[in-house]
Symmetry: C2
Subunit: 137 residues, 2 copies
């Protein structure tokens, strides 16, 4: 089994997707990492930065930066929690207003990337990836 090739192709796929997603988000002044945060907030509701980190498996420093950019763009607010150390992140009205447009662009990008991969392969891949990740964590 050629493990180098397995890791290499996975890495390339990942980069390719990120680039494509960034391209799709460009018209809205957003980047992939920001979209990940917006998506989670829209899906799961308000979360603290720590919870966002845990959910996205990202360290705290990059999350701070991503959120600070979203704050600057007016898509997110940082509200002190009951525990004064934590900051709860809330989508703004503006973000909720723009979200459907962003989502359409992202879905279109994903559709393009998955276009030639049969539905059965997609499901197989997802299953394999999930079980692999689970075993690693």
């Amino acid at each position: 089994m050629n493990s180098h090739e397995l890791f290499h192709t996975l890495h390339q796929l990942s980069r390719h997707f990120t680039n494509h997603l960034n391209e799709a988000l460009k018209p809205f002044g957003l980047y992939s990492a920001q979209w990940a945060v917006l998506f989670v907030l829209k899906t799961k509701g308000t979360l603290s930065q720590k919870e966002l980190c845990d959910y996205l498996f990202v360290e705290a420093p990059p999350m701070t930066r991503t959120i600070q950019r979203l704050v600057k763009q007016g898509y997110v607010r940082q509200v002190p929690g009951k525990d004064k150390r934590e900051k709860r992140i809330i989508l703004t009205e503006e973000a909720l207003l723009q979200y459907p447009k962003w989502e359409r662009a992202v879905n279109e990008a994903n559709r393009y990337l998955l276009e030639h991969l049969p539905e059965t392969s997609q499901k197989e891949l997802l299953t394999l990836q999930k079980s692999w990740l689970q075993k690693l964590l």
Copy 2:
């Protein structure tokens, strides 16, 4: 089909592997991007920077940086080609000497990451990934 989840897990796997590989290479003062270059040079022989870029699907600027670090560490030399624009990249004696140690560390890291993924799953994943990549390029 949840495309978000498919891309998200793939992205996380990729980050996880890179982190693990960097950890394994740390004792040797090397990073994953450098290892990728060293591996290709050892496997395919001397290449120009452009050929390295094409093979690794990386843009020229990051390749320049990675190679400059390898030059500084004495693991690679840049030799002007017949075409005076291009630079051919050659592994040094020192790199050839150290290579087996690096390879052992990388193989051990890969072995660990693949440990709980059955051989059949590995092959399936590789097949799916390769066919997906091919359709995208």
